[in-house]
């Protein structure tokens, strides 16, 4: 699953990261801020992928290490503000060390088993740490969190890290380093054993390795990288609060990695970018965005277990087959009806949300450039009809799509 990555690709990635904040449309402070957020999420997601994708460990409490790394980094930053002569760009190292320390401490107890028991323990530890953080205000700062300044520090090369652009470059640099390190880790013997433990822990025992040990090692390393992401979070926001450790954040990273695609290294990065964008921007367009996210997630779990990265890989592979024409034809037939059904569903959802959550905004609204009055029955009926017709047509046309894909699959398998 982890093929060799040629140095040229890493160089390409570095160039891309360097160029991104200058792309028109992303040049604003907000655009760069969005990129920074995506970068932090990408490192966090990559660290989670080590657990879920590579070792099959489903954790509901990974944010604990992100948060603890963040808090330690925030305190380190405060020490720097008070005079410690360390450049801000090195703060994430403190986060990584904190993550590693806590990963070892908690991991020793919690990685004894895998599977569902591990998932439950991680949930318990996550809630425990979150609850504790609110009880110890001297370290955790209570509800207000811990603040620090990223400019009151030594300024190497005249960089004061006040601007979002400089912060972005720090994050991008660390993203490259972290991705390189994690990628390298997966190609070490321990890394390979992780895959083995994911696929068949019993067999790993038979050949003489201890799955528990393997789980412990990967857990600690994943925690270290999560702490690194937490440190960057502290630099970017100059505040770390209890939300950084919460179950919500643990849930977020799970969504990111799964939607992006658990089986691919890049899946984590794709998922991080997509979910961050959804969270920040989709909420502008619709109040129902969390519903769409939930449905997307369920859809991926049920129908596309490979996630977005899996979809991309699938289609790229199909490009080289003769079945491509059949697939394209099937898509051409299915896509319009799918769009119809979606339009119907989205309309129903949006008008229902408008009615229940924003009654004072009135019943008139504009959707897809069509003005409508939600008090009247016709928008509801029209949307329901669209949905019904579209869904029925889609169900009839879907076998064409799956047949086309089946023949593509045969071709690819036949090639070996």
């Amino acid at each position: 699953m982890i093929a060799r990555a040629r140095p040229a690709w890493w160089l390409g990635a570095a160039v891309l990261l360097a160029v991104l904040p200058w792309v028109p449309g992303l040049q604003s402070d907000f655009g760069r801020s969005l990129l920074s957020q995506m970068g932090i999420a990408a490192i966090f997601a990559l660290s989670y992928n080590l657990l879920l994708g590579q070792t099959g460990l489903l954790s509901f409490g990974h944010a604990v290490y992100f948060g603890l790394g963040g808090y330690v980094s925030a305190h380190f930053m405060r020490a720097i503000n008070a005079g410690l002569p360390v450049p801000i760009a090195l703060v994430p190292v403190a986060g990584a060390l904190a993550g590693l320390a806590f990963g070892i401490a908690f991991g020793a107890l919690t990685t004894r088993r895998g599977g569902t028991i591990f998932a439950l323990i991680s949930l318990g530890v996550g809630e425990l740490v979150h609850a504790t953080s609110l009880m110890l205000p001297s370290f955790f700062g209570g509800e207000e969190g811990v603040t620090a300044s990223r400019t009151k520090a030594p300024h190497p090369l005249g960089l004061d890290f006040g601007s979002q652009l400089q912060v972005y470059y720090v994050i991008a640099a660390w993203l490259l380093v972290a991705a390189l390190l994690m990628h390298a880790f997966m190609r070490t013997p321990v890394g390979r054993l992780c895959n083995a433990v994911r696929d068949n822990p019993e067999r790993v025992e038979f050949i003489g390795y201890n799955p528990q040990r393997v789980r412990f090692i990967v857990f600690s390393i994943a925690a270290a990288f999560a702490g690194l992401a937490g440190g960057l979070h502290a630099i970017n926001y100059e505040i770390v609060a209890a939300e950084a450790l919460s179950a919500t954040r643990s849930g977020e990273v799970l969504l990111m990695v799964y939607i992006g695609g658990v089986h691919h290294f890049m899946g984590a990065i794709l998922g991080a970018a997509a979910i961050t964008w959804l969270q920040v921007s989709l909420s502008d367009y619709t109040t129902a965005w969390l519903l769409y996210l939930g449905l997307l997630f369920m859809g991926i779990v049920a129908f596309v277990p490979g996630g977005l990265a899996g979809l991309v890989t699938m289609h790229l592979a199909a490009l080289r087959t003769r079945a491509l024409a059949a697939i394209a034809r099937a898509y051409a037939a299915a896509l319009p009806v799918a769009l119809l059904a979606s339009a119907g569903a989205i309309t129903l959802i949006e008008i229902a949300y408008r009615r229940s959550t924003q009654p004072e905004a009135g019943t008139r609204m504009k959707l897809f450039w069509i003005p409508m009055d939600t008090a009247k029955p016709w928008p509801w009926l029209a949307a329901a009809a669209l949905l019904a017709v579209g869904a029925a047509a889609l169900l009839r046309l879907w076998p064409r799509v799956s047949r086309a894909w089946a023949s593509a699959g045969e071709e690819l398998h036949g090639r070996g």
Partner: protein, 411 residues
């Protein structure tokens, strides 16, 4: 294969960010409203939002500020300090020059710090922070700064108002304090200790409870403790669900104590306590529906526009905030935030309830305060419950002022 994925991944990053790019702003004065619009405290945030919309429309109908119309941009922060900072960046990038927030002192503390840093690092692009409900005293004392203006009386000011009432009530002997475990709740508890020691040293404080914020579902254990302590009075700063549920548990257990609350009149609280609160439930606010013999014109207009049964002009301070903004813009003859801020300092304004003033030394707004008790014989009721508040005591604006330790640097 992998390198293609790699490229696609980074490209998607770019594409996604591009799609999120925001179009250029039109020429309005944008106000960024950052408060919970979803989640546990959403009812408060959405309620305040209605008030914003109402007063902005009122100002725009009269021609705007110095000819420029106002525009409201709303952002959901879920009472989360980190989320609020993200929203702050978004608001600033979308052109907001005045930020308004109120629910949660934890958020306000993070915002005031972030606004200060932003203004220091971006001269010429300053933003102002108007705080309409976060009343941790630190915001106008040790954490004060030039860009923050608070339009609600702080914890100490409100507790002093209660102190006057408690001083006169000889039936109060044992007081139980119960608050949310964060900076605001602790400030309420500390203020209660101080005021009781100063004004009624004979009163015994029989309990000082801090419970987790917005997490407790069932307050009956706490109510059991209150009863066991023999307290005849409870002082609490609880708001939103924490207030509702405490009242509910109290009602279930038949708890009969004097309630001195900051937010006992907030959305849902009066229906939760019902008739049990008559004569017992007290609040300290800058306004309630029966503060004047008849509804004020703006109250009537608000209820005409928003007709849900719980809709009423609850945030009178938001009304004052917008009127002060109007007055300051007029005085400064400009909508530039720095000039408005300078015009606001020391600005006096007459309101239908009495004179008011924005203090220049710590940017705390002084307005009349009312201590009121729940009654079943008032002209106007709360949320169609048949119960309304009746004023016990009015404290003039100037008398609400507290000493301050604020030392701010001015541009």
């Amino acid at each position: 294969m992998r390198e293609i994925l790699h490229r696609i991944g980074k490209f998607c990053l770019a594409l996604a960010a591009l799609l999120a790019a925001v179009p250029a702003a039109a020429d309005t004065l944008k106000i960024g409203y950052i408060d919970p619009l979803s989640g546990g405290a959403a009812s408060a945030g959405l309620n305040a939002q209605k008030h914003m919309v109402f007063f902005i429309d009122q100002i725009n109908a009269a021609g705007g500020l110095n000819g420029q119309k106002l525009e409201l941009l709303s952002y959901d922060n879920k009472v989360n300090p980190q989320e609020s900072l993200i929203m702050l960046k978004k608001a600033i990038d979308e052109g907001a020059r005045i930020i308004m927030q109120g629910n949660g002192s934890s958020v306000a503390l993070a915002l005031t710090d972030a606004v200060l840093k932003h203004n220091e690092r971006n001269p010429g692009k300053e933003v102002l922070f108007f705080n309409y409900a976060a009343i941790d005293p630190a915001l106008t004392n040790e954490k004060c700064n030039f860009w923050h203006f608070r339009f609600d009386a702080d914890v100490d000011m409100k507790m002093a108002a209660f102190g006057d009432v408690i001083a006169k009530d000889k039936d109060i002997h044992k007081v139980y304090l119960i608050n949310q475990d964060y900076s605001f709740g602790k400030a309420v508890a500390a203020a209660a200790h101080r005021i009781l020691a100063a004004k009624r040293p004979d009163v015994q404080i029989v309990g000082d409870e801090l419970h987790p914020l917005q997490k407790v579902q069932d307050f009956s254990p706490y109510v059991a403790k209150i009863k066991a302590s023999g307290a005849d009075t409870v002082i609490t700063g609880n708001w939103s669900n924490d207030m509702l549920l405490l009242f509910k548990a109290g009602k279930d257990a038949g708890l009969k104590v004097n309630w001195f609350t900051y937010y006992g009149g907030g959305l849902g609280s009066v229906p939760a306590i019902g008739k049990d609160g008559v004569g017992y439930l007290k609040q300290v606010t800058e306004h309630h529906k029966n503060v004047m013999p008849t509804l004020l014109p703006e109250e009537a207009a608000f209820e005409k526009r928003f007709t849900d049964k719980s809709d009423e002009l609850y945030y009178w301070r938001v009304r004052n905030m917008f009127h002060m903004l109007q007055a300051a813009a007029k005085k400064a003859k400009s909508n530039d935030p720095v000039k408005i801020a300078k015009a606001l300092e020391g600005l006096r304004m007459d309101t239908p309830l009495g004179p008011s003033e924005m203090r220049a030394d710590n940017h705390q707004y002084l307005q009349p305060l009312f201590v009121s008790t729940l009654s079943d014989k008032t002209k106007y009721d709360v949320e169609k419950s048949g119960l309304g508040f009746k004023t016990d005591e009015k404290i003039a604006a100037a008398d609400t002022a507290m000493p301050t330790t604020c030392k701010m640097t001015r541009p």
